[in-house]
Amino acid sequence: MSAVDTVSPPPRPSGRPQGAPTLEAVGITKDFATIRANDHINLGIRPGEIHALLGENGAGKSTLVKILYGALQPTSGEIRWKGKPVVITNPAAARRLGIGMVFQHFSLFDALTVAENISLALADRMNMAALRERITRVSSEYGLPLNPNSSVADLSVGERQRVEIVRCLLQEPELIIMDEPTSVLTPQEADDLFVTLKRLTDEQCSVLYISHRLEEVKQICHHATILRHGKVVAECDPQQETAGRLASLMVGAELRQLHAPEQVPSTAPVRLAIRNLSVPPAHPFATPLENISLDVRGGEIVAIAGVAGNGQDELFDALSGEVHARHADTIQIDGVQVGRKGVNARRRLKAAFVPEERIGHGAVPRLRLSENVVLTRHGTREGLVRSGVVNFPGACGIVGRVTQLFDVRKGTPDPEAGSLSGGNLQKFVVGREFDRQPGVLVVCQPTWGVDAGAATTIRQALIDLARSGSAVLMISQDLDEILEISDRVAVISKGQLSEAHDAHGITREGIGLLMGGSHGGGPASTTEATRAH
């Protein structure tokens, strides 16, 4: 495992801080109807400590956090705040104690200014001018520059997160819970966040840090508690462990190593071609696509990196055919001009698509899995529809195959899609398309919210599919994933796509600079990228 090299080295923790825990959870158990989500969990967060909470999806992290933040009550067990037992009846009580939380999904009103948004969340009313002054002071103190008068709609995702953090800081918390804070940030923005966290811990504020990104946990956290199946399975100093060891502690087994055979020659046929694709915005908040060009050859995985909201959704819709392009020749599948063709015509050309949003886009939650198979495969002439009548038993057969291929865990043979956990539904949605052996696959966030074991399975499947001669275009915000499996990387920023670079010669920082929109120079490739394995 190589050390983490970065352009501007972020602060690194040095040993676990001493001192009696600020917050202590003792024997926390939470039962839902039939499931024990938390099983006698013990957790102590010391002052000035960044404490990582690790675990796969469904390991019980969110349940525990909800209990600590007062949104759920434990079935049994005790929470101690500075040594004294407390009952946290609701989030407001948690805030009064000094516990703040920054959620993964922001709760801000676009139409209001920063100061207005923050004033809405404060317990007691405050003079607006004084509040603005305080926001400016606190935000600059912690390296989170914010203009209290700017309207939230104009802020980038990173700036919106700053608003959430500043809102939290104004309550002068002694413990901040952060749920996947870097999932929406560029590497540079993430580094800025880490500086802020360092600043906070210097002041003896504690942070409970939830993240799937093990490298980052290793980089900034003093201590880690690892959950599996609702139980604490290990506590460790993440800096003494490799990312691989942390992952296997979370999964409970050694992770399979990804295996990518030699790269395909550049003479392989172009199977998906995008030529000067421009799409005007469909609504006021959409990103227009400008002159996007890209070739994906059979045998390779090309990744499109970028921070959310830079045109990924619009590009996916244009590629899938949900939105038609203006000219037929702007999108070609195996040489056929499909720009003006619908999604099913493209599927009949052996193309397959996996959108980012599983619920409501890739799958209908209240329909059964077999019906969700019909959703994308009714028009592919596989015999699922004969003279207008749907062959649902045939679709059940496909559900069986997909289940086996990707180990989709479900209670009954053909449950409603919405009853599956997020990770299992993702495996189903991806597997449904793999089962067709597509010639061209466009996949958005293939391992979003999927646990480490399943993510490895999906990534290996993507590699295998590409190496069998298919063209794979992967739109992802997960840099680790991109660096791990893609052959070439392009970056989308404000609706424009950079040139595709060889993924083996590019670094996180290089991609990060492109994400910020600096298309001019090539990516810096001075340091070796960190890989998870």
Binding site: S76, G77, V87, A234, S320, N344, G362, V385
Partner: protein, 369 residues
């Protein structure tokens, strides 16, 4: 202490069957209270309301006469509502169908026989479809809210029918009554049982079964369900939302039109200033009480038909207001919609936890590094 709604992992199929029954039971309980508060013997009134009409062949025939239009319209509306399209103007489409279907017998009084009856039914369907196409096109072209437009068109159709029956289409030999000429026997639907039960009962049952097949087994039915639940997923499947809006309105309008002409060419036997006691609105309750399932709608039509007849019965026997049927229908819709929550949620009474006594610390068993 408070009450929590806990989301079930999956829809409860048991509750899907039970919730309409619970709603019905709650309606009866509230009816009991309403009768009692009005000084009417509640048990007697409920007996007259819900049971008495089932004890005589003549009243069962009346029931069937009312079941037919409710089933036809309810089935059409269920398809509409499943696709998340909100046609509340079936009453107007019913009138449009009645008018369109009456053109032949009124202008060609001597043309009789099965051919003209079949043509009348077809024209009734087309009339309802054409009238339903107006809100559909306003929606797809201009984004106009179909609830408002379809509802407002009910009154347009109602007044147009009124004007026709009083004016140009009035029977010249009808002593100035605001009715058209009476249709000849060869222009009426054939009676298959008793004095009033016509072939329209068979048509309604066939329509319900066909709609069930359409929804459950065909790609069109699948489109209806997908677009109704997740429009974005529908687009991903390659289904057109606008085409679905038009289709849903055409089916529901056509069936409402069919119900209209079946009334005129059946129990009424002539075009009148009003051809329906609000079947188009009552069918909304029918559709939801039947859980938007065409076969369930046959059952719920029976319940709502009974509410009309029972209301008349109580009015006669106990002298309560003639609005009593409306009250019962309203309560029923209210409870049906409320009980729908039970399908996706469990009810749980939660007592706020007292401070939990400390428990001995459980050691971390393995893996501490």
């Amino acid at each position: 202490m408070h009450i929590e709604l806990l989301r079930r992992p999956e829809r409860s199929s048991r509750m899907a069957l039970l919730s309409p029954l619970i709603a019905l039971a709650l309606t009866v309980v509230c009816g009991f209270i309403i009768f009692a508060l009005n000084g009417v013997d509640p048990l007697g009134a409920l007996y007259v309301y819900f049971i008495e009409k089932l004890t005589a062949w003549w009243s069962i025939q009346d029931l069937i006469v009312k079941i037919v239009p409710l089933t036809l319209i309810g089935v059409g509306l269920s398809i509409c509502y499943l696709s998340n399209t909100w046609n509340v103007g079936a009453e107007g489409q019913l009138a449009a169908g009645a008018i369109a279907g009456s053109v032949l017998p009124i202008f060609f009084p001597d043309w009789q026989g099965p051919v003209v009856v079949a043509l009348m039914l077809i024209m009734g369907i087309l009339g309802g479809m054409a009238y339903a196409a107006i809100p559909a096109l306003l929606k797809t072209r201009f984004g106009a809210n179909e609830i408002l437009t379809s509802l407002m068109l009910v009154y347009v159709a109602g007044f147009f029918l009124d004007w026709l029956a009083r004016g140009p289409w009035r029977n010249p030999a009808g002593h100035n009554f605001p009715n058209s000429r009476s249709f000849s026997d060869g222009q009426l639907l054939p009676v298959i049982a008793g004095q009033h039960v016509t072939i329209s009962l068979v048509i309604a049952l066939v329509v319900a079964v066909a709609a069930w097949f359409l929804l459950r087994k065909t790609l069109t039915g699948f489109q209806i369900r997908v677009l109704g639940q997740a429009p974005r997923a529908g687009a991903f499947a390659g289904f057109s939302h606008n085409r679905m809006i038009l289709l849903a309105f055409l089916i529901s309008g056509g069936l409402a039109g069919l119900a209209g002409i079946c009334e005129v060419a059946g129990p009424l036997g002539q075009l009148r200033i009003s051809v329906s006691p609000g079947y188009g609105f009552t069918a909304i309750i029918v559709a939801f009480l039947g859980r938007l399932n065409p076969l369930g709608i046959i059952v719920s039509s029976f319940v709502l038909a009974l509410s009309y007849l029972g209301g008349e019965g109580v009015q006669i026997a106990y002298g309560v207001s003639d609005q009593i049927a409306r009250v019962f229908q309203g309560m029923l819709l209210f409870f049906v919609l409320a009980c729908d929550a039970l399908i996706l949620y469990r009810i749980r009474v939660v007592r706020t936890l007292p401070a939990v006594p400390a428990k001995p610390v459980v050691e971390v068993t393995h893996g501490r590094t």
